[in-house]
Symmetry: C2
Subunit: 199 residues, 2 copies
């Protein structure tokens, strides 16, 4: 945005452009949008976002986001604490909970091992996971994404856990529901074949 635009407008657009997936053009559109909203709405927008950043932190057990000391899942007596599902990020907890069918607890790594990006074991919450693996835990389910980094992280962690005598499992690979064989990539198809189930 050039010099004929008021500086506060340019600054607001620059702030929007810092958000992921929002380019300068969209950021300008958002800045213009903000100018047309009632002041109270913009005040609420501004304060709610800052409040989220200030009040939300990581659960001191599972590392998922929470605004209380322990997150609502870790606090829930009905959840099975002996079953830990390890995921990359809080959004994966949302995905699992949305899907339903899991009644254990989570552990959020906040990242994946990635030697290319210089992310090692100490940069993600592996130590916090190891600390949780007392005698009560019977199974750790690795639910990192089926990518190179996800696989690396999953096998690294499983190698650390196995000596403790705790069962480590991995989410199944296979065809996504509702998909078609003809559109499945080779690796997916090979794995669906390898992991075929008896009917």
């Amino acid at each position: 945005m050039a010099e004929y635009n008021p500086i506060p407008l340019v600054s607001a657009a620059e702030q929007f452009a810092r958000l992921p997936g929002i380019g300068m053009k969209t950021a300008q559109r958002l800045a213009y949008f903000i100018l047309n909203q009632p002041v109270e709405d913009v005040e609420r927008f501004s304060s709610e976002i800052l409040k989220a950043r200030k009040s939300v932190h990581c659960c001191n057990v599972c590392q998922n986001f929470t605004d209380t000391e322990k997150c609502s899942i870790c606090n829930d007596d009905k959840r099975d604490k002996s079953l830990i599902c390890v995921v990359e990020a809080p959004k994966d907890v949302s995905a699992m909970e949305r899907a339903g069918g899991f009644n254990g607890v989570y552990h959020v790594l906040h990242g994946l091992l990635s030697p290319m990006d210089n992310i090692g074991p100490n940069d993600i919450r592996i130590a916090e996971l190891m600390k949780r693996l007392s005698g009560d835990v019977r199974e750790v389910i690795m639910a990192t994404n089926p990518t190179v980094e996800g696989e690396t992280t999953s096998s690294y962690i499983s190698r650390m856990i196995k000596p403790l005598g705790i069962k480590v499992t991995r989410l199944a690979y296979g065809l996504p529901a509702g998909s078609a064989l003809e559109f499945a990539d080779d690796v997916t198809l090979q794995r669906a074949l390898e992991n075929r189930n008896e009917l």
Copy 2:
């Protein structure tokens, strides 16, 4: 976002989802992003946006956004005040200025006539334009978008201005630069033909 997410996180996502073109999924992603940013960055984000809303208002001459009484274009002695380019929105001023080649001043309508949406002449800044049309103005260039609403607004305003003896013009229709005949729509091609220029 469901009940296992902390309320401030859900609220932040809801605020992002109020922005145009941002659905609930992207809003959640933005809320997660915010939680991973340094507090100072989020404070700046939050305050710059609120500041833009509070300090930016409409220029009392051309109605474009400004944080001073008169905008920088209306204040510029080198701009030709006798030539007024009428546009729908502040973003159109940006587009014109970016393109260059115009040395007059602007008038921002902040909307277009649209009977379907119940937007009449009193809902956009037509009265403010008429007030500016003193003896000094020699030409008004209608630069509303080439849409039904843009055309309607353009011809409505030109009918109001013509009796004052001021020249009213309209941006040319034709083929966009760099385009191809085969992809031009019928109306564009017809108009490019009608308005052909002698070489």
